[in-house]
Symmetry: C2
Subunit: 211 residues, 2 copies
């Protein structure tokens, strides 16, 4: 299999979501045209992308959705399950702990932490909110691979330091603050205001709009 | 001002976030190198991007952060405030209604709706959860411009239809389902599992990884 260009790898998550929907609705085959419409790209682009995954459709039949899904899952590393902890048991932490889409994609929330004595000990579903002081030990015992920062911006860097110290290599940052981590630690940042800004950029349709 | 290429406009939200942080920390000037490090791109790219905004740094001084922020806000359409409603008063709806980053960026949550009789009438901060049956009238009265779908996947299309019927042109879709809307309606989709997949793609570091 060839190396996958970055522009293609950025679309992997979209292909994955789309194929999950198709297979769960029982669709066995899909054409590049159908996929293209769902992703908002050209069907020639879909055919090119999929050729990187070693998948080649048959004329008049299209692609085998189950096979394609399996390939994409292997590439994304979601064919295994991942142990995830959340730091911050506010509304966002609650929402994430209850967001079943994560579990459906192999991301299991195994712990949630906070430093607020009023929150520690409370339940979210099957999870009990734990004291951040127990974080390091918990991570070691449970082979946690991913930590989610769901605290206010002012605490984000402090929490990131605790995560890095625990040995976790993958961080999802929901706080609106860019955090600094040593080399070798991978961060994905999510700022929920960004899609809102993308939307208003398109809605305003002003003189700055690109073609 | 020249038209802004799509590749640049995708980075607008990142510039905006970065410049907000810089100005609120009192920083008056910033170099392309500093911006590049924060965004994880090359400083030559930053200089090129910013030239589209009509901003040119001075050697040894850099860019005026306040001016740059103002330009980016004008381009993004966030120099005005937007009225936003949320549909779905679950954990995600709660998290969004309390997410102060939205308000800081000019996105004001003016209403939250649900169809669950147990939720209707409850308070989230200053907002009272309203019956979805009142949606259309509320949108008209309050000039609502953006609706957020924060319901389970199975209800997403139904909710989208209600939003479109109300005359709202901008939708943020947090449900893991791709929804169909007529032309002229702009949708931004957010699947919270996608950043997790991007992260594991990078963590697995397998033979598929691109350079």
């Amino acid at each position: 299999m060839n190396k996958i260009p970055k522009t293609v790898s950025r679309r992997l998550g979209l292909y994955h979501r789309c194929l999950k929907n198709l297979t769960s609705s029982g669709k066995r085959n899909v054409s590049s045209k159908e996929l293209a419409e769902k992703l908002g790209i050209k069907s020639s682009q879909v055919r090119k992308d999929l050729s990187y995954f070693g998948a080649f459709g048959k004329r008049g039949v299209g692609y085998d959705t189950n096979y394609l899904l399996e390939m994409v899952e292997r590439i994304l590393g979601v064919n295994k399950s991942w142990s995830v902890v959340i730091i911050g048991a506010g509304n966002l932490g609650h929402a994430l702990a209850n967001y079943d889409v994560l579990e459906k994609n192999g991301f299991y929330i195994v712990g949630i932490f906070d430093n607020d004595p009023e929150k520690i000990g409370q339940k979210i579903g099957n999870l009990t909110i734990k004291d951040i002081k127990e974080f390091r030990e918990f991570v070691k015992k449970n082979n946690v691979e991913i930590a989610v920062i769901a605290v206010p911006a002012t605490s984000a860097q402090e929490v990131a330091d605790i995560i890095v110290e625990s040995g976790i290599k993958g961080i999802i940052n929901f706080s609106p603050m860019t955090i600094n981590v040593p080399k070798g630690i991978i961060i994905e940042e999510i700022d929920i205001s960004i899609p809102f800004k993308n939307l208003t950029f398109k809605l305003t349709g002003n003189e700055f709009r690109s073609a």
